[in-house]
């Protein structure tokens, strides 16, 4: 074995090489390194994207904001200084999320039970329970028409009165108007399609409007759009607002939507729902379906129960203090169900019951039928009285603080009826009255009609 030279480190020393060869070897090793270093120095950092100039240049649901394509929800959150939170939160116009089973814990935040009567709420039937009672008193004698706000098509929706006295009304001419108490137009919003649903006004003044264009839109008190949520199906059932601000709407299924426009949960149904969701004191959301079921959904979005009703349901449910649920069917029945969905009794009228039953303070159920009668039923399902009109009754009744009942008929008249079933007066509005009235604190009655008018009566 040839002894190897070892340098002071104990490693074998390399054999001495010629200077040129050494230089060549060095160059061979150094060149790639130098090249890499050179290219590193030449890089300017990540390639700058070309700034966008228009929303059309951006894909999917993104817009061009400050030269960059960004998701609308991100920009909105940035501008409002908040972040989207919920695990099921989606951009406001992105439509519904996965079925309720996948909602997760973040969605388990339903409304607390109602234990005390509340002042009139600016939504259909004055309450998320749809009892139809008002704390205000309406005209005892035949009123005069103070003014009428004209739209260009039928007014099917019910007016609602906001905290400041502004009256909100949608029309089949696609308009949604905010009308001051003196009849002046404050602002008008034009939807993409007809408006059948009654609006709901939150405590912060946000106005929720459903339209046949498939959207639920949140407007601020000045009429500007806060957000617009595409539910991909006509929204002609009136939304309601829970005590925590959650909005419950129905289209192709039932939705719970937070005030920021994010869908908390969605329970799909086989077909389109026209029945306005009602909130049970136990927190469940109750709705009727065209398949002839009464459906109750837990605050978490889980289906609690389904009860067959025997016929299609168009009207909303109303819920009494004791939790009894009342609802009408297209077979002319008025059903009473317990909080567990079990049927307690069933009353048969002559034709379809498409109105939402109102519930008087003494528990009397007041509801109209297509057989042209207004019925008053006891909590046990017995007839107390009925009043005949000359037309079908599609509208729901409202009950004032004095127990007087106000309801429209397709005989063109708007009726006031005593708690005992006596017709106090009736006012001719010229065409069918399918809209449910609203009562203002000053006693003014607001009601829409097929003449396209929002009528103020006092």
């Amino acid at each position: 074995m040839t002894p190897q030279d070892v340098n002071g480190s104990g490693r074998p020393a390399t054999a001495p090489r010629a200077p040129v060869a050494r230089l060549a070897r060095t160059l061979v090793l150094a060149l790639p390194l130098a090249s890499a270093l050179a290219s590193c120095g030449a890089r300017q950092g990540p390639t700058q994207p070309v700034p966008c100039m228009s929303d059309r240049e951006c894909r999917a649901d993104r817009i061009c904001h400050e030269g960059r394509c960004r998701f609308l929800a991100e920009v909105e959150a940035e501008l409002t200084g908040t972040h989207a939170e919920s695990s099921t939160a989606t951009p406001p116009d992105a439509g519904p999320v996965a079925p309720a089973e996948d909602a997760g814990a973040a969605a388990d935040a339903g409304p607390p039970a109602e234990t005390e009567p509340t002042p009139d709420r600016a939504m259909f039937m004055g309450s998320p329970r749809h009892h139809g009672r008002s704390v205000h008193t309406g005209p005892a004698e035949a009123p005069e028409q103070r003014w009428v706000h004209r739209t260009r098509a039928r007014v099917f929706a019910s007016p609602v009165v906001g905290p400041d006295g502004t009256v909100y009304i949608g029309s089949l001419d696609r308009s949604f108007a905010a009308v001051a108490a003196d009849g002046r137009l404050r602002w008008r919003y034009t939807a993409g399609d007809k408006i059948y649903a009654t609006a709901a006004v939150a405590e912060d003044g946000t106005v929720y409007v459903g339209s046949d264009d498939g959207t639920l839109t949140a407007l601020d008190p000045t009429g500007q759009v806060r957000w617009r949520l595409d539910l991909h199906d006509e929204v002609d059932a009136s939304p309601v607002i829970g005590p925590d601000g959650t909005v419950y709407a129905a289209a192709e299924g039932v939705y719970a939507i937070d005030p920021a426009g994010a869908v908390r949960w969605h329970v799909p149904t086989a077909s389109h729902i026209r029945s306005s969701p009602a909130l049970h004191p136990n927190g469940q959301v109750v709705v009727g379906t065209p398949e002839g079921e009464v459906l109750a959904v837990e605050p978490s979005g889980q289906v609690a129960w389904r009860t067959p009703a025997g016929a299609s349901i168009d009207g909303g449910a109303s819920i009494a203090e004791d939790g009894t649920i009342y609802i009408g069917t297209d077979r002319g029945h008025v059903l009473a169900l317990g909080p567990d969905g079990r049927e307690r009794w069933r009353y048969e009228t002559g034709e379809d019951v498409r109105a939402t039953p109102a519930i008087a303070a003494d528990g009397t159920i007041v509801v109209g039928s297509y057989d042209r009668h207004l019925y008053a039923l006891s909590p046990t399902g017995e007839l107390r009285w009925k009043v005949a009109t000359s037309g079908r009754i599609r509208a729901s009744a409202r009950i004032d603080a004095a127990g007087r009942i106000y309801v429209g008929s397709q005989d063109d008249f708007f009726y006031a009826i005593s708690a005992e079933g006596e017709v106090l007066w009736r006012h001719n509005l010229g065409q069918d009255v399918d809209s449910t009235a609203a009562l203002a604190p000053d006693g003014t009655l607001y009601v829409g009609a097929d003449d396209g008018g929002l009528h103020a009566l006092r």
Partner: protein, 557 residues
Amino acid sequence: MRLPTLALLALLAACGGDDRRVPFGEEEDGETTPDDPGEPEGFTPREGRSFEPGAGTLSVEGSPLGVEGSPRALLALDLDEDGDRDALVVAETESELRLAAARREGDRFAPATLSTLELEGCAVARAGVRTVTEVSALAEAELRCEGDEAADPWRVRWVVGLGEAPRVRETLSTRAPLEAELVFEDRDEDGHEDLGLVARVHGAEVAFAWLDRPGGLAREAGEPEASVRAALDADPARGARLAAAFCRGEDARIRFGAGAWGLACPDALRERARRAEVAALLQAGELVDALAALEGGAPIPDDALDAAAASGIEATRLTRWRGTPDAATTHTALAFDADGGLIVRGVTAERHGPAGGVTPADALPAPVRDPGGRFFVRGLRRTCAGVEAELLPASQVGPGAGFAPAQRRPVAEAPLEGCTRPPESTLWRALGWAPQGLVVGRPGARWVAPLTADGLPAGDPVRLETGDPPPAPLQGGRVTPDGESWIVETPWGVLVTRRGRSELWRPAGWTDAPPPRAAALSQDGERVALLRGDEVFLLAPAGDDDAAAAPDEPPNR
């Protein structure tokens, strides 16, 4: 004379034929053709047979014709006068319509394609072949095209010269409302059959001919242009429709051969016809269509515009505008306030009171701004897909504005067919901003673009149909707050729409000033302010004292 021979052949054909094929049996009864009112004496026109799609292979006297495609019409006749029956066939393939002549050679046929036509997504509804004179036959087909089910079909006609070597003399295609008749006669009495055409559209008629020359058919010199000119002289409106139907363009309704629809009419004729068309629209009160035609480059019939304009509108020069030439700021130059005063914003802002007098005005925000006063519309931009609004923060109003990048939001869907480059000028205007969003319009159309308070999109733009209630209240220079009245200023006048009814405000001397650069409508909808060049004018119905009493006084500085 040939009829007995043909009858004998028909009888022979009836005895033979392959059962697997569709046999050609008895011939149809000859009928006088409606296009041939004066057939020569001794000549009897003959009509062939028509077939539904999928008729299968045709045979004559037991021999297959061998023509490619699905036969749709057939006429058996002795083309070469050799005593046997040949055939003219119209056949359809997936992409073409074919006209073929099949000469019988022994027990076989030798088909030869005479002409083909690209179907271009169309299908044959009906076809037919018939003789029209001793020397001419007419093969025709009606075509229906995809996406055009509601329209009348277009009609294709081949004029076939008969003989040993049949040839197509002319191919004519027509579409409703143009109707055409072919006339076969010797116009120049040279012993050769010429071809005449009588075309009618909207009550106007033109007739001309192709003369038979050694080289083929030659169109009469100067026709149909001369006939179109004569029609324009007699009735400009009808003449314009005739010109549109004949001359190359999107409204052409006639085609010769397989080229483009319409003839290459002289520019002077086309201009004259377009001017007549616009004049006819104006006379009929179709202001929106007339303005659209002018926007498309039609010549300007000033006298017709003057005649169609609303009467009694007077223009008063109000003041000289002292501003920057920057187009980004010019459109913000004019706005009426709620008290009827006109704010003129140039280098400085001044208010011209309704009863006269000029006072300095605060630097008001631009007219078309959101309810929160945070954004304003810098302008509208036409794209091939529609219209976009350029939004800027309100702080950018005034000289120097426009240097900040604008947010562009789609505000109307209005695709331009065949657009590769959008037009630079447009009649789209930003009318006003409602709480719901921005309202834009052009003659005959308005759109709402929903926007949030932050100027972000809040849904797709929605078109407002006639009668739809507009969003309100609207804040903007060209619309009243209730949205019921609005204006669109154009180079040819101001289209003022009030409660669904439009009229053109075009005071005397309109053409003496440059086109409008900015416009505003008073909040009561009664007066219009225009910036033309460097002059501000007030337009109002005569007798509007407020407009007449607005002097040009310097502001009280």
